[in-house]
Homo-oligomer: 407 residues x 2
């Protein structure tokens, strides 16, 4: 991580103790207007509590990674946390491993696994093996742990994530992560080879090759999950923590592994996964004031419904969040941020590059007096349209956590 510095390194210089920050991240909440209603999900949602917060907040739009760039969940959150996602690059394998609480160590190479179905001629017919149950997944991982023998001076681990997803971790000297995905991202074609993308990666690529071949043999009798696809190979190098960088002792409240893993990577404490929205907000109320400075509350439903093209579902999640908002406001955080890690327009049923709305509520916020939190209303906000990376600096400042720059 010796890449060139950015504005966030100045916040590092200036960081001091101060107030408490709450990030309420509605995953994928940004969107587009649909044909039927002519509104985005945020525009459609009835959010009396959020509306009240908005009137007292500064607002604007965030472009998470860059113009035209559709963020994965990892890069989107890195930007919100003040880590330039072009400078701090993460593999999906590393995130998956961290997300299940796997004790990933420096130098480990992790790759995400999909159990998949291939036909008699080796062509992928289902990249997710009909979304097998987590139970089946665990049974298959057990079998592979017994059947596969990798010949190298090190250890390897295979762990179930959920449904068809698992993670492979290789631990040993001189491993490398620059290896091509074997997931062809399409059906009707065979998996790709785990090609080494550098000379240094050849031994690791051979291990991956051996793993894939032996897994095929061991899974030959399965009807659906008879092959594995690997992607997101990455060698794990610890990142500087939020505490080391900005002096923030953080707590993550998130149900999904990816976000929990990312938080752990950045040195946040991670609360036990809450079951549902009420539990998540309840947990925040319970933990608030327990010695943390930075509370990250992650809401997955907005993204999930967006990915499914379900506009009404997305609206319902936003409205459910709104009903829980008064409890959060009662905690009186010094800084409340509401935003998203990327857009997931229901009309696209996928992540997108469109900027997301953001609000910052704090005593020192230059309140815009805008009455609704959505993509269009926030065009008029005083925060303007700016890179997602900027958010953390503003949050720190509003929490009184940054010294003056220069004399």
């Amino acid at each position: 991580m010796s890449a060139p510095s950015d504005i966030s390194s100045v916040w590092e210089e200036l960081a001091r103790a101060g107030g408490r920050i709450v990030y309420l991240v509605l995953d994928g909440a940004g969107g587009l207007r649909d044909g039927a209603n002519g509104k985005t999900a945020l525009e459609m949602a009835r959010t009396p509590n959020l509306d009240r917060v908005m009137r007292d907040s500064a607002c604007g739009l965030l472009e998470l990674v860059g113009p035209g760039i559709t963020p994965g969940s990892g890069p989107g959150h890195l930007a919100l946390f003040g880590y330039d996602p072009l400078r701090f690059r993460l593999g999906r394998g590393v995130l998956s491993a961290l997300g299940i609480g796997f004790d990933l160590r420096e130098g480990d190479v992790a790759a995400r696994i999909n159990f998949a179905t291939v036909d008699g001629e080796g062509r992928v017919t289902d990249r997710r093996a009909g979304r097998i149950s987590s139970e089946t997944n665990r049974r298959l991982c057990d079998r592979l742990r017994n059947a596969v023998r990798l010949d190298f001076d090190g250890e390897w681990f295979l762990e179930t994530v959920a449904e068809h997803r698992a993670v492979l971790v290789l631990r040993g000297a001189n491993l490398a992560g620059d290896i091509q995905d074997t997931d062809p991202q399409a059906t009707g074609v065979p998996p790709r080879e785990p090609v080494a993308l550098s000379a240094a990666a050849r031994p690791t690529a051979e291990l991956a090759h051996a793993f894939i071949g032996q897994a095929r043999d061991a899974l030959a009798g399965e009807k659906s999950a008879n092959a594995v696809l690997l992607r997101g190979f990455h060698r794990h190098a610890p990142l500087p923590t939020l505490q080391a960088r900005f002096g923030l002792k953080g707590l993550c409240i998130a149900q999904y592994p990816m976000y929990r893993g990312l938080s752990r990577l950045l040195g946040l404490d991670v609360a036990a996964p809450p079951e549902g929205l009420d539990a998540a907000f309840g947990l925040l109320a319970e933990r608030f004031g327990d010695g943390h400075d930075f509370y990250f509350l992650h809401v997955k439903g907005t993204d999930k419904h967006g990915e499914d093209g379900n506009m009404q579902g997305k609206v319902a999640v936003i409205e459910a969040v709104d009903r829980l908002l008064p409890g959060l406001l009662d905690l009186q955080p010094d800084v409340l941020v509401v935003t998203a890690d990327h857009s997931t327009p229901a009309v696209m049923a996928a992540h997108s590059w469109h900027p997301v709305p953001v609000l910052i509520r704090a005593a020192s916020a230059r309140a815009d007096g805008i009455g609704h939190f959505d993509e269009y209303a926030c065009r008029g906000g005083g925060l303007g349209l700016r890179p997602g990376l900027h958010l953390m600096g503003l949050a720190l400042a509003h929490a009184g956590r940054l010294n003056k720059f220069g004399a």
Copy 2:
């Protein structure tokens, strides 16, 4: 071109096949309100078709090169095409040579020539020699080709561009382009010397010096065109093409040499020059869907009238473009961009640094619902005010031509 990377290199990483993009570039279309009407040319123009497009488009403002920086046509277009103009620097000589279809090779040094008038004491009295005809220009170039002898291990070429403009190309080993312009950009003073700006450029500067002196002798009998002024010395190094960078197979439809030359430099195919606006739009309709992904239609009239301080002429060109717009819309490009490469306010009669309006029309555009395309209306657009470089990333994204970044 080993300068530090910028956001455009991330688009290179993410590029994939996708839809078709049309860039309609109204050269110098941005402007200022004049005293008589209190409106800019774009505000004044009656553009019912463009207004309709605007209502369905995302819009905003582009700052082409940087704050306060007035772009030449080359840098302005480079930015629009996704090439940071501070990273990719071009000499006017190189552009002139490419614009007349001259087969410029790597290492060639090109300089733009103006035939000019000097008085008995060697002071420039007319930097354009009364805008001599292209016919006269060709006759004078013939004479110079016969009269001038340059003593070096290489070849040289002298080619007419148009009116008073020509181009000089030096071809040989170890030539350099960092040589001071001899055009003093003023009358009443003598031409400047072609001073070498580095030790390596000395031999090339001496060749330029010899050429200028011998040209003065050969042109001594001419009434107006009795001297040459050289500017924009540049050593030609090929640029990475649009296809290599973003997977775009481009077609340029432009009447003027500069834009044709720049397009060729970036690997676009270049259609035969259309005579006038109707022909240009007709050519686009004819060629659309012929295997290109990126169609660049250049309109020069807006800039020309702006440079002449002719507000009404500029308005007329914008209205003429508007009348031709329905034919372009019938082609149903996946992405339509309308913008300018810089402002040329008629009240300044020159290029300027003021941001230009931009619209992006695409199925995935977050339409702003703004009803007119001009500098003031576009302030309210969701694209915000952003660097011109950003445009290509947005166009690629809206054409479905960028993969997701990270997991």
